[in-house]
C-alpha cells in the first residue's frame, strides 16, 4: 500500500487538480483506450487468426509463416524501400537547399515561401490526377520540356515498370514545401553572431554551411527525417489512385501499405493484413530507434540533455 501512497496526492487541492487533469484529458483517454489501445490489441489478436469479416479461426503463427514464404510481401517491401530510400533523402536535401537559399535575405521572402508551400496544400487525389497528366508519356509536359530537347524519347513513367517509382520521387519532390518551411524557421533561429564570428576567423561560406548551419539545425533535420520516413513508408493515396488500386504496372508500384490494403479490404483477409500491419509497425519502431541512437551523437543540442 505504501507503493500506492507514493502516487496518491497528499492535499485536497492536489487531489482536485489531479481529478481536473483526468477530466480534461478524458476525451483523449477514452479515445486512446477505445480507438487506439483496443484496436492495437485486437489487431495483434487478428494477426493470429484467419478472419474474413464473418468467420474467425485462431491459427497461431500461420499468418507469419505464410508471410515468410510470400514473394509479394518481399516485393512490396522492396518497392517501398526503393521509394523511401531515395525519395526521403532527396526531399530533405532539396528542401534544405531551398530553405538555405531563401535565408539569404532574399526580397519578397513570404511571397516565395507561399509559392513553395502551395503544392503541400493540394495533397491527395488532385495531385495524383495532376501528375498523371504532367508525366503522361505522349502528351505530358514533363517529357516535352525535359526529354524532347535532348532528342531522347521520354520514359513512360506511371506506365513503365522501371520508371513508376522515379515518377513518385518527382511527385514527392514537388511537395517539399512543408519540410522547407520547417527548415526555414529553423535557419532563422540560428544566431547571426555565429556566422559573424566565423567570418572574422576567415571561414568560407561552404565551411560556414557545414560547421554552423548544419549542426545548428541538425535537431530539425533529424525530426523531419523521422517524420518523412514514417510518412513515406505509409505512402498510399496517390499509388492507389494512379494504379487503380492494383499497384501496377505488373506490381511495380505495389507499395507495402497498398498490398496490406488489398489484403484487408479487397480480399478481406483481415488476419493476414493485420500480420502485415504489425511487421510495418516493427519496421517503423526499429528504424526510428536506430536513427535516434545512431544520430544522437551527431545531432547538436543547445542545452545539454534536451
Amino acid at each position: 500500500m505504501s507503493f500506492l501512497n507514493r502516487f496518491w496526492p497528499r492535499t485536497r487541492l492536489a487531489r482536485r487538480e489531479a481529478l481536473a487533469f483526468y477530466a480534461f484529458i478524458s476525451p483523449w483517454l477514452i479515445g486512446f483506450l477505445a480507438l487506439t489501445l483496443y484496436p492495437m490489441l485486437a489487431s495483434a489478436y487478428y494477426s493470429l487468426t484467419v478472419y474474413n469479416v464473418v468467420d474467425m479461426k485462431f491459427v497461431g503463427l500461420q499468418n507469419f509463416q505464410e508471410l515468410i514464404a510470400d514473394k509479394k510481401f518481399y516485393w512490396s517491401l522492396w518497392v517501398t524501400a526503393k521509394y523511401t530510400l531515395v525519395g526521403v533523402p532527396l526531399g530533405i536535401a532539396s528542401a534544405l537547399a531551398v530553405a538555405v537559399l531563401l535565408n539569404q535575405k532574399v526580397p519578397f521572402l513570404s511571397f516565395w515561401r507561399t509559392l513553395y508551400y502551395l503544392p503541400s496544400v493540394i495533397t491527395g487525389v488532385a495531385v495524383a490526377m495532376l501528375w498523371q497528366w504532367v508525366l503522361n508519356p505522349e502528351y505530358g509536359l514533363f517529357n516535352y520540356l525535359v526529354f524532347d530537347p535532348l532528342g531522347i524519347k521520354g520514359p513512360r513513367w506511371f506506365w513503365s515498370e522501371t520508371w513508376v517509382i522515379p515518377a513518385y520521387w518527382i511527385m514527392g519532390l514537388w511537395g517539399i514545401g512543408g519540410t522547407m518551411v520547417i527548415y526555414l524557421a529553423g535557419l532563422q533561429g540560428v544566431p547571426t553572431a555565429l556566422y559573424e564570428a566565423a567570418e572574422i576567423d576567415g571561414a568560407s561560406s561552404w565551411q560556414r554551411f557545414w560547421n554552423i548551419t548544419i549542426p545548428m539545425i541538425s535537431p530539425v533535420i533529424l525530426f523531419t527525417l523521422i517524420t518523412n520516413l514514417i510518412g513515406a513508408l505509409q505512402m498510399f493515396t496517390q499509388a492507389y489512385v494512379i494504379s487503380n488500386g492494383l499497384g501496377g504496372p505488373n506490381n511495380a508500384s505495389l507499395l507495402y501499405v497498398l498490398y496490406l490494403f488489398l489484403n484487408g479490404f479487397r480480399w478481406f483477409r483481415f488476419g493476414y493484413a493485420s500480420a502485415l500491419a504489425w511487421v510495418l509497425f516493427a519496421v517503423i519502431i526499429t528504424l526510428t530507434l536506430v536513427l535516434l541512437r545512431v544520430l544522437r551523437n551527431v545531432v547538436y543540442y543547445e542545452t545539454p540533455g534536451a
Binding site: F7, E17, F21, P27, V125, A128, V181, Q234
Partner: protein, 375 residues
C-alpha cells in the same frame, strides 16, 4: 612621379579593396544569385499548376495537340454559303489576311473573305496557316460539375460538412486535452504523455482493420441490442466523424507546446479571482491561444478535406462520398481519360482549399512551423 606620390597611391589602392572582393559586393551577389535560383525553382513548382489550369480550359481535341501550348487556342470555322470553312492566316503580297479556305491546293488554294464571301483570293497552300483564336472553355467546369454519375455538388457538400465537423471536434477536444497536459499536475501524467507521443508513431494500418470491425459490427450490434433498433454504421459518416471528438495526438502536442509558452501567472491571477480550472481554460487560455488554434484548425481542415483512405473504407453510396473519392472515380465513370475535364474537376476539388490558403497562408505556415521546429 616622385617616390612619395607613388607610395601615397599604393596606400590608396591598398586601403580600398577591389570592388569584386568587397563584402558588400559579395553579399549583394549572393543575394542576387539566390533570388534567381529561387525564382527558377518557384517556376518549376508553379508550372504544373499553370498547366493544370490551362488544360482545364481546352477542348478534348486540343489537350493532346503537340507541341503543348499553355494558352488554349484553337482553329475556327465559320459558316459560309452553307459550308463550314476553316479560317486561315494567308500571306498575300506580303500582307497577312484572315480568310476562309474554300479549297486547299499546293499550287492555288482558294480563299474568300469571311466578311464578304464574294471577294476571292488565291494563294499556294504553304502561304496559309490555320488561324488560331485564344479560346478558354470555361464550360468544361460546368460539364465536370454537372456530370450525372459524379455529383460534385453533393461531394462538395459532404466534404465541407466533414471538414467542418472534424475541425470543430478537434478544436474542442485537443485544446481541452492540451490544457490538462500543459498545466495540471497529476499522478501518471508523464506516462500518459509518453503514450500520447508514442501513438504518433503508430501506423494507421494497425488500427484500421479493428476500427472497421468495431464501427461496422460491434458498435451497431451493441446499440441495436440496447435500444432494440436497426442502426447501421457502415456507409455512414459516423465512423469518420465521431473519432474527431476524441482528439488527435499530433494536434494535442501542437497546442500543448503553445500553452506551455503562456506564463503561469495568468492562471494564478485567474485562480485568485475565483476561476476554476475550466473557466481558466475557457476565459484565459483559449483567448490567448488564438494563433495556434487557428493554425490547428487550418491543418485539420486541410487534412480532412483531402482525406481519401477513411471515406474509401467506410463509404460506398455515390451520394455519400467526399470530393477526394468522387474525383478518383471521375475518369472511370466518364469513360476514358478526358484530361481537360479531369483537370477541371481536380481544380474544383481543391479550389476552395487554395482560396483559403491564399487568404490565410500566414496561419498555414505557422502551423507547420510550430509543429516542426518545436518538436
Amino acid at each position: 612621379m616622385t617616390q612619395r606620390a607613388i607610395a601615397a597611391r599604393q596606400v590608396k589602392i591598398g586601403a580600398q579593396p577591389r570592388l569584386w572582393r568587397s563584402k558588400k559586393f559579395l553579399e549583394r551577389g549572393t543575394q542576387a544569385m539566390s533570388t534567381i535560383l529561387i525564382a527558377c525553382g518557384a517556376l518549376v513548382v508553379l508550372v504544373p499548376v499553370i498547366w493544370m489550369f490551362s488544360t482545364s480550359l481546352k477542348t478534348r481535341f486540343n489537350v493532346t495537340s503537340m507541341p503543348p501550348e499553355f494558352i488554349p487556342r484553337e482553329s475556327v470555322h465559320v459558316p459560309i454559303n452553307g459550308q463550314d470553312l476553316f479560317l486561315y492566316d494567308v500571306n498575300i503580297d506580303g500582307k497577312t489576311l484572315v480568310l476562309a479556305a474554300v479549297k486547299l491546293d499546293p499550287e492555288k488554294s482558294e480563299f474568300v473573305d469571311p466578311n464578304d464571301p464574294s471577294k476571292v483570293y488565291y494563294a499556294p497552300a504553304d502561304q496559309a496557316t490555320k488561324h488560331q483564336l485564344v479560346w478558354a472553355h470555361w464550360e468544361n467546369y460546368r460539364e465536370a460539375w454537372t456530370f450525372a454519375s459524379t455529383p460534385f455538388g453533393i461531394y462538395m457538400k459532404n466534404t465541407v460538412i466533414y471538414a467542418l465537423v472534424a475541425v470543430f471536434g478537434e478544436l474542442l477536444s485537443c485544446s481541452l486535452v492540451a490544457y490538462g497536459f500543459a498545466r495540471l499536475r497529476a499522478p501518471g501524467k508523464n506516462l500518459l504523455f509518453a503514450l500520447l507521443l508514442g501513438t504518433m508513431m503508430l501506423p494507421w494500418a494497425v488500427v484500421m482493420i479493428p476500427s472497421y470491425v468495431l464501427f461496422t459490427r460491434y458498435i451497431p450490434d451493441f446499440l441495436n441490442k440496447l435500444l432494440d433498433t436497426k442502426i447501421k454504421l457502415a456507409d455512414t459518416w459516423w465512423p469518420l466523424m465521431a473519432p474527431k471528438f476524441f482528439g488527435s495526438a499530433y494536434l494535442i502536442f501542437l497546442v500543448r507546446q503553445f500553452y506551455m509558452g503562456i506564463h503561469k501567472d495568468y492562471d494564478d491571477a485567474a485562480r485568485i479571482d475565483g476561476c476554476g480550472f475550466f473557466q481558466t481554460w475557457w476565459r484565459i487560455i483559449v483567448p490567448m491561444s488564438r494563433p495556434v488554434l487557428t493554425a490547428m484548425a487550418i491543418l485539420s481542415f486541410q487534412w480532412h478535406w483531402n482525406d481519401y483512405m477513411g471515406p474509401l473504407i467506410y463509404l460506398s453510396s455515390t451520394n455519400k462520398l467526399p470530393l477526394s473519392v468522387g474525383l478518383a472515380n471521375f475518369s472511370e465513370a466518364y469513360g476514358g481519360t478526358p484530361w481537360h475535364l479531369m483537370m477541371a474537376a481536380s481544380l474544383i476539388a481543391v479550389g476552395p482549399l487554395i482560396l483559403i490558403f491564399f487568404a490565410l497562408n500566414r496561419y498555414f505556415i505557422q502551423g507547420v512551423v510550430v509543429s516542426g521546429v518545436k518538436g
